[in-house]
Symmetry: C2
Subunit: 515 residues, 2 copies
Amino acid sequence: MPDARHDAPPELDELTRRLATVHDLRAASAVLGWDQMTYLPPKGGAARGRHLATLSRLAHEQFTDDRVGALLDALRPYASSLPADHPATALVRVARHDWEKAVRVPGAFMAAFTEHCSASYQAWATARPANDFAGIAPVLERTVEMSREYAAFFPATAHVADAFVDEAEPGLDVAAVQALFASLRARLVPLVREVVARPRPDDSCLTRGYPEDAQWRFGEMVARRLGYDFDRGRQDRAPHPFTTSFSRDDVRITTRLSHDDLRFGLFATMHEAGHGMYEQGIAPGLDGTLLGSGASSGIHESQSRLWENVVGRSRGFWEWGYPLLRAEFPDQLGDVTLDTFHRAVNRVEPSLIRVEADELTYNLHIMMRFDFELALLDGSMRVADLPEAWRARFISDLGIAPPDDRDGCLQDVHWFAGPVGGAFQGYTIGNVFAAQAYDRAIRDLPSIPSDVAQGEFAPLLGWMHANLHALGRMFDVNETVVRATGAPLSIEPYVAYLERKFRGLYGSGSDTPLP
Amino acid sequence: MPDARHDAPPELDELTRRLATVHDLRAASAVLGWDQMTYLPPKGGAARGRHLATLSRLAHEQFTDDRVGALLDALRPYASSLPADHPATALVRVARHDWEKAVRVPGAFMAAFTEHCSASYQAWATARPANDFAGIAPVLERTVEMSREYAAFFPATAHVADAFVDEAEPGLDVAAVQALFASLRARLVPLVREVVARPRPDDSCLTRGYPEDAQWRFGEMVARRLGYDFDRGRQDRAPHPFTTSFSRDDVRITTRLSHDDLRFGLFATMHEAGHGMYEQGIAPGLDGTLLGSGASSGIHESQSRLWENVVGRSRGFWEWGYPLLRAEFPDQLGDVTLDTFHRAVNRVEPSLIRVEADELTYNLHIMMRFDFELALLDGSMRVADLPEAWRARFISDLGIAPPDDRDGCLQDVHWFAGPVGGAFQGYTIGNVFAAQAYDRAIRDLPSIPSDVAQGEFAPLLGWMHANLHALGRMFDVNETVVRATGAPLSIEPYVAYLERKFRGLYGSGSDTPLP
């Protein structure tokens, strides 16, 4: 924790050192986790599980040490005497927040919960392909029960899910997310209806068979060009793409490639590069501290969605990128125009699977999950009723119904590998804030759309680095949003973006360049 | 620690748990170290250094906890009551040995020493290419001084280097190594003279340009065929090949490839596969404990040399392997006979660089380093005299002199990245014991040479697994050697092997198949 003030109390140094140990243990866990998802030999899993459990236990022990609590108490007056945006103030506040959370939940409960989640994941891995909801329902019931028990360790809140929402999105609660989603839903549902009623663009050009080597090359070129720094990161293959950070100078992304569908690898790489550039842009002084990560799941997701969708699916981006892509794949794309390609990667179509949903309908997948989480946690819905509720909601929101639970309520790993609560809202918050941040960036730097169309991404990335990334985890979601954009979180830029984009693509049929 | 005895005291459980934590921290460090040598982004080093320092500090703290000493004291009577080859006896003995070592050396000294070694390594990385011995001499003087200080933390021994030798080769001391080397030297020097006086085989077939992809493929095929289990390991590229183990089910090897010289990659892969198969063969019950690694540096090296040299440079091996190699590289080897190839990979020639030395002269490189370490530590040689002593010894042993220090006494990283003492003897002990173990294996299983010539390595590997690998680190070097081979460490099998092999190749000129 850099602190130029000469009057900083010695407790700050000690706290900083203790938290650095915790951070280093977590960073080591992250390296082991990355390796597990990329290069672990088939039989190496059992030992790896033991190593990770030990690191996690030690990090918890070090963090929940009484001495950390005493240091936080001792530092309270000092932290209050500093401006709110002083790193030491932020460190003490965030450390207090995390520490309260960590000491409230008994180790024995966490161990039991972790063990249950691990067993649940195993059961899900069998139940999903077998379409066996009845078989796994008792496991999910127990997860809901334990999620409630977890929430009960925290002071009573308006909704039982508040603890989970706050964990993912510090400063937000269920009511805030509900309000955000309700206003978004009111605008989104009509737009979805309008768009899906129009003829759908032909996207067959994306499934003509794309050699993976060339996809890899093109993806790395794009990530580098966007501004992902390969001197401070790398890309590897993983079955489920993810980004992980060991320090701002070692932020790794992963991707998956499909020979049969160009979209998977291309957009996964831009998505993960977005996460990666966020972590690479955190202020150097925050590195190695509790503040050296993203502000929340949703804010993190805003950066992946910004580069994947707002930039990566824009017409401007492909004005620059499409000639390069076509040069890499002349056999597949030689007869495909820029307009056809751009429409293809923006095809909107009600679909069953969240991770394959288009940019527009995606949020409906999220909102129903958020509602179901709340209902399961507050007892207004039983686990047994989930499959039918899922089908009903799909019909009402998207006009289609899953033929089975495999592609219905069993499709996501989240509830089967962790608590029920707080797992999904960040994806839509991310979409919303991506548009808001982009909107503010182009007001500050109006040349951004034309820069993008020339393959110049540094102005946009530089804006994000300076106004958002550098803040790291110093502030909660609300404060981060206001500091970055000058306004509270709002759906307006996002709705305006969606309407302009999809009415442009589906409405007039014109090919007006989009911002 | 598996223990079927129902009367095991509770202290054994607690000790086992505490040591498992230490082991897991070390395993995590090993993963971070592996990643550092294979995939670390260029700028990720600083943070990685911090993470490793924290893991190392925590492992040291956990291991040197007073409670571990108390448990070891409490378990002494129990351990003495069991047979010497009971795992609990071995665990308590080895833990005591390591613990004494760990508590004797003050943490502040170790931190200062580590920091010095790190600075020394940086200085060496500049000094070596600049051929600047004078510039780095003060650093090396300080290393010698600190190495002496380190040794002084241990009870007085016959030679100041005994602590280092015991650390690398538990149960051996300077006098034992000197005796071994003196007897070997007496037999080796005449053989080297005899061989280097003969015409040297043409090895130009090895430098005809070998595409690295095909080398990689061939190397992996060979490693798999030897018995290295890719389900419990993997091979990656690294600038300096090494093997590392996180558990017996995750043992990773690395190799380097040179387009211009087939030898580098091929023999590095077999060498590291040898190390890897040792770790993969340790008894499952020892996994995750202090006993779950090799017995010593030298014993470990015996397994790499066995597969690299005794097997990998034998004529029998190439009777099986050469047709496959030639099929992979028809342009390079189409006109090269098996005999020519086998002679080429066994070319003996006095050379300046240890890591490129042939099987026969290699040991002379080691012996001079061992002698110099002793002389530097006991004060009979000054650092300033090292370059001249190096030249003189090269002339007397090998008949050539290094033109400069870069390829003379500055060539090895060891003394510039760690203590002076105990760094080199293991390589020759490994050569000696490789022959002894092989000799015993073929006495037990006389079909091994003909198995090898048919590409069947399971009998030899199975013998090593059963008689050596399974023992892990339960016994010291002497005891391990006796248990594995029924006899104390002896140079006779090795000298006989060398004489038979190189007189066969260089003497009569016949192509008698070699065992």
